[in-house]
Amino acid sequence: MIAAPPFLIFLVGAPVVLLARGRARRVGLVVLAGLALALTLLLPEGVGWTVRFMEYDLVLLRADRLSLFTGYVFALITFLGVLYAAAFARPWLHLYALLYAGTSLGAVFAGDVVTLLIFWEGMAITSTLLVFEHGGAAVGAGYRYLLFHVLGGALLAGGLALQVVESGSLLLGPVSGSWPSFLTALGAGVNVGFIPLHTWLPDTYPRPHIAASVFLSVYTTKAGVYLLARTSPAVEAIALMGGAMAVYGVVFALAQNDMRKLLSYHIVSQVGYMVAGVGLGTVEGINGGMAHVFNHILYKALLFMAVGAVIHATGQHVMDRLGGLGRRMPVTAVTFWIAALSISGVPGFNGYVSKGMVIAASEDLLPLRVLLEIASFGTFLSFLKLGYFVFLREGDTPGRDPPWPMQSAQVGTAALCVAIGAYPALLFRILPAASAYDPWTPTHLLEAGLVLAGAAATFVTVGRVVLAPHEPRVRDADVAYEAAGRALVRFTQGLARGFAVVYDGFVAAVSQAGRSARRLQTGDLNWNVAGVALGILLVLLWLLWEGAA
């Protein structure tokens, strides 16, 4: 079997497919994604495709259990996402999305540090293009997005360069040493959404095209989680940060009115679970975190697809203008609820399995466990809100189910969520490490049940009033960044003025000294002679002095 790096298919195939027109192009896109999926699923374990660059031998393809696992889900969602996006005739969107997927796969399968960095920055660039493609309000957000990602990429590059110096090897693996670990974790942290480096996520994801949001929700953050797993810092602080992210994301999500922004904050929250798992560093932790990567990709993409369908049908982004769509968009509603139940960790759906694994792995770190349970409570509450106000409550917003490519993508993804939820063994077989977790133990079921019941009760009683959608009054850390930016500009202008004062002052002083010295030149003969005589006298005296000494 050809063991070719999957990114090649996208990098080479995407421009080719885009040369076609109309229906041929859309079919071509789906076929291309399908081909990439097949290739990825058939990849054997192993290392290969070395290329000479700078003074190193780069490894373009390193397929082990961890990278294959991540690669599978990336390729899978690419296929489903492309299917969804094929409903729209936007060639540039398709191109950027495919390149984004391609660079992400390249990063996941990278065997060495330099390859990773090249694809990492490639991901940043292609995803920025994907944001910019939409134009309008997305452009400003895209600028901020790229600023963050260049920051993350530069931090990562620095950390990995230091790691190469310390370890002498270019291979991508566990990072040791304080500076390398710190910089690498921070660099990955930007992608993953460590608080407060997360603001780009809710700022950017809601703005571009609805199909673009589907793609955006997948790769950047999960590649970050993959990188954390690969470089395994196993630092307690990272695990706790994961817990903080989980709660922070949920709190802000509950306050949102814009549907995609709500989902974006949930990405921060759910990725928090993954970070917690990976940060714990234990086998169960990493397994749980990665399992959550897999499941989250599926149900989050599905959520964005469903919400995208609603936006597409109604033209509305915000919940306070929607209602009653459950009857008019049944397929979308059903797939939505499947995804909502998955993300909330309801038994029988995929999220329950992986969430449970992470929570179980956190049992030694009580604060973390508490945070994660709180986040689970908030998650279900939040999706009850979203589902109720959009689909269930009385309302007369017109709408109908989207075109068939979008519907098929939604149904396909939903089916996977249900299948894995019912038969977790499907997932366990491909996990990086063997897992001894049993999701069906009474303890686990009870835990989940309690949290979910509590959230449901809260919603049904007070939630419908307290959580009624309205424009959020909370502001996120963006405020701090904006203020910092303005302060920086003011500081620079002050600095420039300071320099000018110093320079002009210096020049003025020199000119003044010159003008004063000018007065010595009187043109008067007597004066000049007297000066000469005095000078000679002084020299003679000095010579006498020197002679005597």
Binding site: L117, I125, L147, L151, A161, V165, E166, W179
Partner: protein, 489 residues
């Protein structure tokens, strides 16, 4: 022909071309042709010296001996050839660009322009290929003087004021270098460049050595635009854009950093630099320059000024690399001479094309310019990504090696400086790209003429090629790696 003769010609062909250009003042086409041909010939000669350098032999020529130990003495070594080949190659592109630029604007005094440009390049070759400090100083001063008419080309009140400032700064710097040369020659009798440091300097008393080091750093630091000696460069942007581009992004300023590289690695030597306590000061100055200049770039509305401050910042990447004193850092620094040269020159060319086509000079006026000049602005976008050290562009390679070098030298904290700089680069270049493509009204396509657009694209693509194809035979990367391997860590 012997390589020694090729070396001599590399430096003197441009000098010889100048009177020829003057003689052709009434015949613009032959005059321009002579300029282009001279550029190509100079590059070919400089490139021909490359293979021999890799085998370890260094062609050399003593042109003129003033006194024992004081001679105008040329020698081709890896660092010198890297600078020489890059500068002469970019001169070819700049000459082509100048033709388009000067003719489209119907500029006056074109003969004077081309003639002095040739002198400048000759002086640059001399700086690059000098074997000792005296020789370098001679050509360095010729460089200062011959760039003056180009800076004040416009002959306006502002231009003359800028020219005066330029001379005061650069001649002052030259004076400092002269003092240092005199001290060393007087006390040690030997001012030649030796890889790893000139042994004769180790005999000097510490105070004297410190004074010499300070004078050299300050002297070269003026042209290398170390803060706070950088004030001349923004003023000098009043020159025509090809001048701002080649001279003030490639030749003159690179001569300054080149002088610093020679001082630190071939004159004082890493041992002495550390022994004199010079390293922390240099690192601090370089880091400050990188950050302060990028901050200033952020608040400039004039496009060329923004590019000028960006140049000041990027040059200190090279100084940082030189001061880290580790092989990887030296590789990064030397390679950045090429990497930055191509990308920054492309941006200056874009600025000039915009000015020629639309008369605009300010960033705030550039709404929608990407629709009118898409290929030009595409080159700008690529160069901006290069400036932020994004792969697959050449500065990614430099930044990688600078980071590795920082690790080797136990100065990991400097990586934060590089990180901040990358972010700032995007912060002040991306808005231009966004304005160009995402605002304003649709417009008719009107790119610059081929003589302008060609070099714009060629330099941007050059930055890409240098970053992707590091294995280019005898290319800047190979030379830099050879140079670094010759350095004992």
């Amino acid at each position: 022909m012997s390589l020694d003769f090729a070396l001599l010609l590399t430096v003197f062909v441009p000098f010889l071309a100048a009177p020829g250009i003057l003689a052709l003042r009434r015949r613009p086409n032959p005059r321009e042709a002579l300029s282009v041909v001279t550029a190509i010939v100079t590059f070919v000669f400089s490139a021909s010296l490359l293979p021999s350098v890799f085998t370890g032999s260094s062609p050399e020529v003593v042109v003129f001996r003033v006194a024992p130990g004081l001679a105008v003495h040329l020698r081709a070594d890896p660092l010198g050839l890297l600078f020489a080949t890059v500068a002469s190659f970019l001169w070819i592109l700049t000459t082509v660009y100048s033709i388009g630029y000067m003719r489209d604007l119907r500029e006056h005094a074109q003969t004077r322009y081309y003639a002095f440009f040739a002198l400048v390049i000759g002086a640059t070759m001399g700086v690059a290929l000098s074997a000792n400090l005296f020789s370098l100083l001679v050509f360095y001063e010729i460089l200062t003087v011959s760039t003056y008419p180009l800076v004040v080309h416009e002959e306006s009140e502002d231009a003359f004021r800028a020219g005066r400032k330029y001379l005061v700064y650069t001649l002052g710097g030259g004076g400092a270098i002269l003092a240092a040369t005199a001290i060393v020659y007087g006390l040690a009798g030997d001012v030649s460049f030796v890889a790893g440091g000139n042994p004769a300097l180790r005999e000097l008393p510490t105070q004297v050595a410190q004074a010499v080091a300070f004078l050299l750093v300050a002297g070269f630091g003026v042209k290398a635009t170390l803060v706070p000696l950088h004030g001349w460069l923004p003023s000098a942007m009043i020159a025509p854009t090809p001048v701002s581009g080649l001279l003030h992004a490639v030749a003159v300023v690179k001569a300054g950093v080149f002088g610093l590289l020679r001082t630190l690695h071939f004159f004082l030597g890493p041992g002495l630099v550390v022994g004199l306590g010079l390293q922390p000061i240099l690192l601090a100055v370089a880091a400050t320059t990188i950050l302060v200049a990028s901050l200033f770039a952020l608040v400039q509305d004039n496009l060329k000024l923004r590019l000028a401050y960006s140049t000041i910042s990027q040059l200190s990447y090279i100084v940082l690399g030189a001061a880290l004193l580790s092989p990887a850092a030296l590789l990064g620094a030397a390679f950045h001479i090429a990497a930055h040269g191509f990308a920054k020159l492309s941006m200056f060319f874009v600025a000039g094309s915009i000015f020629v086509e639309t008369g605009k000079t300010r960033v705030s006026e550039l709404d929608g310019i990407g629709r009118r000049m898409p290929r030009t602005m595409l080159a700008f976008t690529l160069s901006a990504m290069a400036m932020a050290s994004l792969p697959p562009f050449a500065p990614f390679v430099s930044k990688w090696y600078l980071s590795v070098g920082a690790g080797e030298a136990d100065q990991a904290i400097l990586i934060l400086v590089l990180v901040t700089s990358s972010v700032l680069n995007i912060a002040y270049f991306l808005p231009i790209v966004v304005r160009a493509f995402f605002t304003g009204e649709p417009a008719r396509r009107a790119e610059g003429r081929p003589a302008l657009l060609g070099p714009v694209l060629a330099t941007a693509i050059g930055a890409l090629v240098l970053g992707l194809w590091t294995g280019l035979p005898y290319g800047p990367y190979e030379i830099a790696r050879f140079l670094a391997r010759g350095m004992t860590p």
